[in-house]
Amino acid sequence: MVLFGLGGLLYVAILFTNAIAILSEDRFLARIGWTASAEPGFGGARDDASVKARLVNLVSSVRTLMRIPLIVVNTFIIFYEIILG
C-alpha cells in the first residue's frame, strides 16, 4: 500500500517528463519563442538571469538529456503494464 503511492508519484513524474520531451521544437517552441538563445552575445552577457530564459534553458536541457533514459523507462513501464497488468 505504501508502494502504491510511490508508484503513482513515479508515473506522474514520468508523464510530465514525457510531455516536455515530445514538444516539437520547430512547430511549437519556436512559434512561442521558447527556443534557446541562438546567438550567445559576443563579449556580452546572455540574458540568463530572467525567469523566462532560465525556464527555456531548463526545458531544452531536459529535452536533450532525458530523451534516451525516457525511452528505456517507458519501455520498462510498457512491459510491466502489459505483462503484470
Binding site: 500500500m1 505504501v2 503511492g5 510511490l6 508519484l9 540568463d48 538571469a49 525567469v51 532560465r54 525556464l55 531548463l58
Partner: protein
Amino acid sequence: MQRGNWNNPAPAHSPPLHHPVPQHVSTVPQLRSPPPPQPPSQPQSAYGYGQQQQQQQQQQQQHQGGPGPAGGAYGHHPAFGGFMNDPTAQMATQMGRTAVAAGQEYMEANFGRFVSVSALKHYFNVTNFYVVNKLYIVLFPWWHKPWSRQQRLSNNGQDGYYLPPREDINSPDMYIPMMALVTYILLSTLLAGLRGAFHPELLGGTTMTALLVLFLELLTIKAGTFLLAISSSSQLLDLVAYSGYKFVHIILATLISELLSHLHIGGAWASWLVFMYCFGANAFFLLRSLRYVLLPDQTGQGVGGQQAGYTVARSQRNRRTQFLFVYSYVVQFGFMLWLSRA
C-alpha cells in the same frame, strides 16, 4: 585413553572430559563459549558418540531414532546441551558471524557515501534548553528579535561555518522536525482509531503523505531558487528542517481542536481559529527564517564574503520577496490544510 600418544604431547593430552549427554530434551538451549580448536574436539565428539552408543545399547527399549550412529557429521542431534560441540555447528556459527560482520561493513561504507553522517550529527547537536526555546519560538515567533544565524570562521580562516544548534538558537535542527513528524503520524492514526476508523495501512499512508509534502516543499524551494537565480549556500537539510517545523503547529492544532470538540466548546469555528493561529505562526516563522535563505544579499554579509560586489536588480529583489511571501503564506496554507485533514 585407548589411542596412543602419537598425536598430542603429554601435557596437551585431551583429558577424559565427557560432557554428559542428557537423555531428556531441555527446553533452554545451553549456550556455551566457543569450543577449543579442532584437533581436541574430534576425540570429544567421537567420545560422545561412543558414549551414546553405549547408552543406546544399554537401553534397547527406547528408540532414540539413531541420532548417534546415523550420519556422523550432521546427524548429531542430542539434546540442546551438546549441540555446540558439533564441528558443523561451529562452522555455521563462524560463517554467520563473518556474514554479519561483512554486511555491517558494507552498510557503513555505502551509507557513509550517501548521507554524510557528520553533517547529520551537526543537526542533532541539541540541548534541552535549545529544544524548549525553539519550540517557544516556533509557536510564538512574534517577539523573537534577531533571526540571523551566527557563524564562526573555521580554522583555516577562509570559509565560515554556521554554529550548531547547541550554541545558536536560530540554527535549524533535525531533532524537533523528526520527533514532530513521528508524533504527527502516531497522533493522526490514534485519533482515527478513536473515531473508529483505524486500519493498519493508515500508518503507512500518513507517512507517505507527510513525506510527500516535505518533498513537494523542497521541490518548490529548489525550483524557486533555480528560476530566480538565487545563489544561496544553505544546505538541503536546512530546508528539510524548516519544512519540518510545521508539524509542531499541526500537532498543536489537531490536539487543541480535538480537545475542544470533545468538550463541546465552540464548534467548527473554534478549530478553524486554532488552525488559523497555527498557520499564522508557521508562516511568520518561515518568513523570518527563509528570508536569509531566499534573499541572501539583504543581510549585508554573505557567507564567506564572496558576494561582496554582487548587486541585484530591484525588480529581481521584488520578485524574490514576492516568492518568499507566496511560499510562506499560500503554499504553507495549502500544505497545512492537507496535512490536518488527512
